[in-house]
Structures are given as C-alpha cells and as structure tokens.
C-alpha cells in the first residue's frame, strides 16, 4: 500500500507544470486481430429481390420452397394438435421457416445440429421423424430419439445450455481428425445467458468448427430485443470473442442458406467459428400458453406478414419462371400428405409402460430403484385387478 502511494506521488505533477514525463505505452503482449473484418454489415444480407438470385442453383431454390411449404404446414398441424390436447405445448416457428429449414439444409449428413426447444422444424428438415421430433412436446418421453442417428442433439429446453455442448463436440471431432461441423441454434433471448458467452469464447479460443445461429425473432416471450441487449446487433457480439459476425435476413431462405453455407464451409476448412444472426419474426405467440396481445400490437405483426418467407420466395421464383403452378401445387400436396400422416399418427395414443420410469436412469438399476419399480408394479397390478 505505502509503496504504491509513494510511486503514484512521484508521477503526479503540479497543475500547469510542463509535462516532463510521458508514460510509455505498455509492451504489446499479444497480437490483436483487426476487428473490421469480424464486424457484421450494417444491414442484413438479402438475396431475394437482387440479381444474385440468378446465381443460385434453381434446384436448390425449388427444394427450399418445398421445405418451407412443408414446414409451414407442419407448424399449422402441430398447433392444431395442441388445441386438440395431443401436445402439451408447441412453440411455433410460423414465420421463421426460412431460417429453420435453411439451417438444416446447410449441413452435410456427418455434421451435427444442436437445436433449442423451438427448433423442431430444423430437426424435421434434417430428417428426424416428425413424430419423434414431437415426443418431448407431447410428453411421452424427454427427447426419446437417439441423437447419433441423425446427429441431432436433444431439443434443449434450458436456454443456451446446448451451445457449449456444440463447441465440445466440434472440438472433439477436430481432435479426432474428422471434418465435422456443429450448428448450434439459439434465440435472441438466449444470447443473454452466460452459457452463450462461454460457448462463443471457447469456440473462438479453440477455433472449433462451430456455427452459432441466433434466430432473432424479436421477443423472448414478452421481452423485446431492446430490453435484451444494447448491442447494435446480436451479430456484433461475435467481435469481442474474435470471430466474425454475420447479419442476414432470416426470412430470405436463399440468403440464410448462403450465409450459413459459407460459415459451415469456413468452419470445415479450419477457419473457426462464426456467429450468424438471422433477423426474423415470431408470428404466433410464444407458445399456445402465451397471450401475445399483452405485449405487442397487430400492426407490427401485419408488417411482418407482408415479409413472409414463403410469400417472398414464391413471388420471386414465380417471376423468374423457376416455379410454376404445377410446382406450387406439388409442394402444397406434399405438405398436405405429410400433415395428414402426422395427424393420423399423433391421434393414436402412444403406448406407454409406466415401468419405463425406471428404465434409463442408470445403465443398471440401483437397489433402491429396483425396490421402487417393484412398488409401482404392485400398484399397477392392484389397479388392473380393481378394473
């Protein structure tokens, strides 16, 4: 303490005295990255409505369209199932189909997807059985599917907690010499959680092959983005960790596919992580249990409806002659078939065995669990005897 005071007093100069002493700058102790190339553009990238569409593969464009239409139908069907009591809850992605679908399609088969609880659609677009994707929300099992089958981690209900997992998996893959990329999805609200920041930092320090996709849909339940962050954009957050941030129109499927494609390619060739913010909008309420009229007005929703991801893609592809009446009808029919099948399968009661409560708590049941299983068995037997 004393020596510190002494030292500072030798540095202090009387007011007005000529400054004989100029502190030297501290030695540089690490190279600094120029933040400029890391910074996102001021405006979200758009491809639809620009000449760049002409460069896109028409087959990909049609595929995106079909998947979007199917996704919209899936959202509508799942919402209807909630109303019928077939699902405990459904967080809809109506209006967000472009980023959900483009995210899934940006990955190769060997890559991994780390979805948040809202991202059933990304999981389905990646090939997960639509019914399996709804197990968690129907309430017959938590997750239920084998993540390794489609390389889809469990839909994570706690927010942002799956992001460090994505970093760890990508890191492990690289250690093993596999060119596998992990795509981790999170909402705008989730970017406030500590896990988001820790994941980004690890990813950048390890140069892990991860892409973080933030779907900024305007709200975390009732809380608008302005109360969530003071950053110019969520993509800006990347810079502080030393990774590039990219801003994209989340309703422009082609733009999202392009930006994610670039980020995935970059990660795959050892270029490290990227943070992508897709600017989109949550058309429906947070879930069926939420009353959105409490925190937002219709005008805002209507403005976003005009920028609907399916609408803008359909218009553009039709104008360019990439999509015709037959193509539109085929997509709608495909979606309808999927919905009918989903309805049918979801309307059958799942066959549940209460004894499964004890099935997968440990690899081998503890003595206590065996005892509790016997208790439940006896209760169930008594119940069925009683009729």
């Amino acid at each position: 303490m004393d020596s510190l005071q002494q030292r500072s007093s030798t540095v202090q100069e009387p007011p007005g005295a000529a400054r004989a002493y100029r502190p030297t700058p501290p030695p540089a102790w690490r190279p600094r990255t120029d933040p400029a190339p890391l910074l996102p553009d001021a405006e979200p990238l758009r491809v639809l409505g620009t000449d760049a569409v002409a460069d896109a593969d028409p087959e990909l464009l049609r595929r995106l369209y079909r998947e979007l239409v199917r996704g919209r139908r899936y959202n509508a069907q799942a919402t209807a199932l909630t109303k019928q009591g077939r699902l405990a809850v459904y967080p809809s992605t109506t209006g967000q189909e472009a980023s959900e679908v483009a995210a899934a399609l940006a990955l190769e088969e060997r890559d991994w997807l780390f979805p948040s609880y809202r991202d059933t659609l990304a999981a389905v677009a990646r090939g997960l059985d639509p019914v399996q994707a709804l197990t968690l929300l129907r309430g017959d099992w938590h997750t239920g599917y084998d993540p390794r089958e489609h390389r889809i981690a469990p839909l994570s209900t706690p927010l942002a907690t799956q992001l460090p997992h994505a970093v760890g998996l990508a890191h492990a893959a690289r250690l093993k010499g596999d060119d596998v990329v992990a795509l981790a999805m999170v909402g705008d609200g989730g970017t406030s959680e500590g896990d988001f920041h820790e994941a980004l930092n690890f990813a950048a320090v390890w140069q892990a092959p991860v892409v973080f996709l933030v779907q900024n849909n305007g709200f975390a339940i009732s809380v608008p983005l302005a109360k969530q962050t003071a950053a110019p954009s969520l993509a800006h957050k990347a810079v502080g960790y030393g990774m590039p941030g990219r801003l994209v129109d989340g309703n422009d499927a082609v733009a999202v596919h392009q930006v994610l494609g670039e980020a995935v390619a970059r990660a795959r060739r050892g270029g490290g992580p990227t943070l992508v913010e897709a600017v989109t909008y949550r058309i429906d309420a947070h879930t069926n249990a939420d009353d959105a009229t409490r925190y937002r007005g219709d005008t805002e929703v209507e403005a976003w409806r005009a920028h609907d991801p399916i609408l803008i893609l359909e218009r553009e592809l039709t104008e360019r002659g990439i999509l015709d009446e037959d193509g539109r009808r085929a997509a709608a029919e495909e979606a309808e078939t999927m919905a009918a099948r989903l309805r049918e399968r979801m309307n059958a009661d799942p066959v549940l065995d209460p004894m499964d409560l004890f099935a997968h708590v440990y690899a081998e049941k503890t003595a206590q669990l065996r005892e509790q299983a016997a208790q439940l068995r006896a209760e169930l037997d008594a119940e069925s005897e009683a009729g």
């Binding site: 968690l136 099992w141 927010l159 959680e193 500590g194 809380v223 004890f358 669990l369 209760e379």
Partner: protein, 343 residues
Amino acid sequence: MTTHATARPAAKTAAKPATMAQALQRAMRDAMAEDPSVHVMGEDVGTLGGVFRITDGLAKEFGEDRCTDTPLAEAGILGTAVGMAMYGLRPVVEMQFDAFAYPAFEQLISHVSRMRNRTRGAMPMPIVVRVPYGGGIGGVEHHSDSSEAYYMATPGLHVVTPATVEDAYGLLRAAIASDDPVVFLEPKRLYWSKADWSPEAPAAVEPIGKAVVRRRGTSATLITYGPSLPVCLEAAEAAQAEGWDLEVVDLRSLVPFDDETVAASVKRTGRAVVVHESTGFAGPGAEIAARVTERCFHHLEAPVLRVAGFDIPYPPPMLERHHLPGVDRVLDAVARLQWEAGR
C-alpha cells in the same frame, strides 16, 4: 425515489374467493407500497406480469424501475440482485420455473447464502428468490422439478413454501421483510387453489419457521408441505374409514425447521409419515425422519416412514401421475405403521 406508502386505501372489504396467485401478487404489492426499497425483477415480470401472472400490474403501478423485465439470464438476475442488496435495496427475484433457477446456483450458493457469514454480519442479503416448483401441471421437461433439498443443504438460506392462500400472502410478506435471503418455493399446482380471503388480514403475516397443525388427530402424524398438503388432508379424510385418525402438520418453512411443533405432534400420536413429491433418496424426508427419530424415539410405535417421488428425473407429463405421491401411497404407508417388530 417516491414513496408509495399511502397508495393503498385501507378500506375493509369482505372476504371473497382469491387464488394463491392473487395472494402472492398482493403480498408484493403491499410490500412495495410500504417500502420503496422493495424491487421485483426477473424474466417477463413487467409487461406480461410473469408467465404465471404473479407480478401482474406491479410494473404499471410502481414503474419499470421497481418491477423490471431483466435480460434472460438467471445468474445475472441473482448476481445483480446481490449488488442491489449491498446498496440497500430489497430485491424480490422471480425464477421463471424450478429448473431454470439452476444457472443462478453459483450466485445463490457462493454469495447470497454466505454474504452475512463472510462479512461477520456486516452485509445482510435481504433477497427473496421466488421459485415456482413441483409437478402435477403437465409441464414438459425442466418445468416440474422439486429442488428444495439443494436449497435446504445450503447454510445461510431460509427455505419457505406456502400451501394455502393465506400463507402465500403471510409468508411472502415475512420473506420480503427478512434480512436474510429466502428461497420462496411456490407450489405451482396450487397457484389456482382458492380460499375466501380478505387481503387486509395482513395480521396474518407469518413468522418464518413455524409449522402448523392443519388437522388434529390421534393415530399418526402426516408431516408435509407445499403441494402435498392437499394430498395429505384428503388421505386423512379417507383414513377415517379405516379407523385412522390422522394429524396433518404443514411445515411451511423447511429452513428453519420447526422441531418443536413436529416433535410435539409425533409424541402425541406415536407414528409419523413424511410426505413430499421431491425424490426420497437424500431428499427432505431423510432429514425430517432423522430429526423426528432423534427427538421422539421413545414415543415411536413404528419407524418414521417416507412417501416421496421416485428417485428418477421428473417424468414426462404422460407418466407423472405414476410418480407423484397420491392419496393411495400415503394410505399404504399409514397401513404400514401398524409395525410389527422383526417383519
């Protein structure tokens, strides 16, 4: 800072049905009106009034500085509450659901619970952490946990849980008034339970740490709290047919624990069952059974039994009825109290 102390007219209104949710809201409202240092904060507590509407109207009445929608970060919410408390405010923090309080454990265990101790009493932590907890509402994963054992195992925290509309008001008022941190566990499946209640019975502010006998009986004591109280009261009614006259003790406060009320009851009845929906192994019942045995050994006609949730992750909604201890399981345990040595 403006004072809202005079905001509420003290008009007498007759008792009418109120829900536990309304009583909790009223407790915060009254506390905020009386004491400008009381601040409510959490995810969606402002405009929306919380996902369970427990903070409904507080932002409107007291402004966003007193009832604040925070960024979505539980560690941040509780961590900033620590700083606010250090500067003389009394934060009432809402964790949206039981399992979403886990990111805040670091702050709770490393700072909130031990600040008084580490500062030789100089720095109290008058923070209330409100946590909706427990199952029975068909919630998906991470929406039905009973975490009370974790909190109970942390010295420095009070752990309180109301089971009635009156207690919801009385205990929350007491928790906000407490100079020590209180983990206030709200049994979410009782949020919509009703009672005839008159809000100006703040006479009913309950001191933290007192259990209450909800039903008098002579043959055995059911020791319970929170969401399991209605189950035990129902079981006690049903047991009458079997000739069992059960006493039901509602703990209300898990820490501090009211040894006196509990032991007095068990000494009268000679038998006890602890009932809760949290897991049994190393759960709250383990502590309670041990304490009862230590104090009532010579009065006991049978070992203290526990009826608890299974030792599994809280199951999905479609299976939760098999997990939650219901009336039948309580009655089975009561039957086993006819203990024969050597069985």
